[in-house]
Subunit: 347 residues, 2 copies
Amino acid sequence: MNEEIVKRRATVHDVARAAGVSLATVDRVLNGRPGVRAVTAEKVEQAIAQLGFSRDLNASLMARARDLNVVFFIPDGTNEFMDSLAEAVQRRSPLALADRIHLSMRRVKALDAAGLVSGLNQLDAHSCDCAVIVSSDEPEVLAAIDAAHRRGVAVMTLVSDLPGSARRNFIGIDNGAAGRTAASLMGRFLPQGGKVAVVAGSLHLRDHAERLEGFRAALGAEFGAIEIIGPLEGHDERTETAAIIARLLADHADLGGLYNLGAGNAGLVAALEASGRSGDLRVIAHELTPTTRAGLRSGAIDVVLDQNPDGEIREAIAAARALALDASRTAATDPIEIGIFLRDNLR
Amino acid sequence: MNEEIVKRRATVHDVARAAGVSLATVDRVLNGRPGVRAVTAEKVEQAIAQLGFSRDLNASLMARARDLNVVFFIPDGTNEFMDSLAEAVQRRSPLALADRIHLSMRRVKALDAAGLVSGLNQLDAHSCDCAVIVSSDEPEVLAAIDAAHRRGVAVMTLVSDLPGSARRNFIGIDNGAAGRTAASLMGRFLPQGGKVAVVAGSLHLRDHAERLEGFRAALGAEFGAIEIIGPLEGHDERTETAAIIARLLADHADLGGLYNLGAGNAGLVAALEASGRSGDLRVIAHELTPTTRAGLRSGAIDVVLDQNPDGEIREAIAAARALALDASRTAATDPIEIGIFLRDNLR
DNA sequence: CTGTTAGCGCCTTCAT
DNA sequence: ATGAAGGCGCTAACAG
């Protein structure tokens, strides 16, 4: 890779010349617009393939004097992690705009499929090139994704995937791996074995279910001396989670560890501290938020597994750009890594 | 952020009109070219500030029909991590080119300041906008960075920083935090305390020294029951590291843990497996490579702390772009997170 | 010292 | 169904 010959990239001019047509015709083919005979289109396709032509997205956006529009649908409510995602969108906004990508955001009621669906239905290809959604797995949503896709609006899933849908990309962590990681750490923290309680938000949430499955599998395979209590469901809600944890602590004086694979961490920390046993058991939770940070600092939480909201937004934007160039395929993106945070490597 | 009014970004035309000058004059001011009276320049500056004008980098690169040139200097030798960095550069190359950023790379002898210096000295602002180097802390290098900077070539440090230099950005992890993280994990893995040996490449390497410092401090503060053996230096070299580890294992039958904060992991794994005690002690190493992956899988290594070479290259490129827009300041980049890998979350 | 002009790669009227 | 021409934001000759 030292001092190579620079081959100029092929341009629309090159394609036009090679195909023996005009710029306008090439453009029509490139953008799938009508008004080109099949034979002519074929000649252009040939030239494109032959020259390995790929359109310059920046020039393209500049020429049509129109930004790429990406719309984020982020759940609203009391989930701090969703707020981090929303902030990440805001933080990226000016930077994206400098590259002609216009970000907008709609906060929609959490776990309210109807609201999300109506939001998606309002989108048309003119006002939105790509919609990025965080959604639970509901048939109406799948249908809305499909419809949006047919209207020319690409849809990507964020945080929690919808595999059966027409979504183009999924941006998020491997939740099974996250569960296995939690198991692996917990197992090493408790070399003598013991009881570990598992708390979820709801097992109807795909990411939560995947985490649980991974956790169970890895504990079973590697740390047979550990007994799982639960899972119990706290519905990602502070009070309910606190009540569950309080009960667990009361019922199991010998509890060695606790894995909260959902949200509701404020309740978890409160219950732990109220019990006076904070620090006596190994605690693993998800998502770096003000609450879990405080928990790490105080010693109530040992490890937080995080999915890096800023990285997720960055990759979502990168994917949206890639899709703008070729909507027919899934865009390649850098994987989102599972962040593992202890008190000592807090960002 | 729902449906806001779109204010068109200011362009050079707007600036020219506001300042009462022509495009060419604005351009001269923007690019710091001569031929503008101080008063005129002042008017232009005013207009720029007033309109909040910021140049469109993509349009700029397109207009001058010239890619942004970023040159990476990556150490050559037997260090697998450096190979990962090199591969990351190769992987990003086509993607970067699509955005008019031309990546090139020179492999230079590891820890050979003279080679790096001569490479830097060959660079001029025409052939290279930004140089990204991995270097140990030597006065000649600092001088070369300074000289390059004065020739109009921005320099960034990667992996290991050179704080006193004219480098614009540092891309890499917080090595003190990495050492503290290792300590934190090791402490939790050995709840009864015990002996932990530390092996470094060389304490003359800034990143290694920082890791050691962090490790020591965090162990001392939180896990007083752990005794540190070492540090011993293996010079990032397989055979030497193997010999050191073999000796450590022989001398300390009760060794509970091992932290290799440098490279030479092939030697570490070999010595552990030869001793028959692989899996009996908790082992923490740095950088995800074929060797450390195998070590994680076999159980010889418990945890690998990683600095995500692909992410580092991505951020280096992002920073280079930002510097192209404003070379006078340090570019804002996403921080590189310390990856923590166990057998169960291997990518 | 300053302004005019053509053109980078692409898209979009408007003609033909 | 196809082409010619102008313009997006910026830069680089080339004139004055």
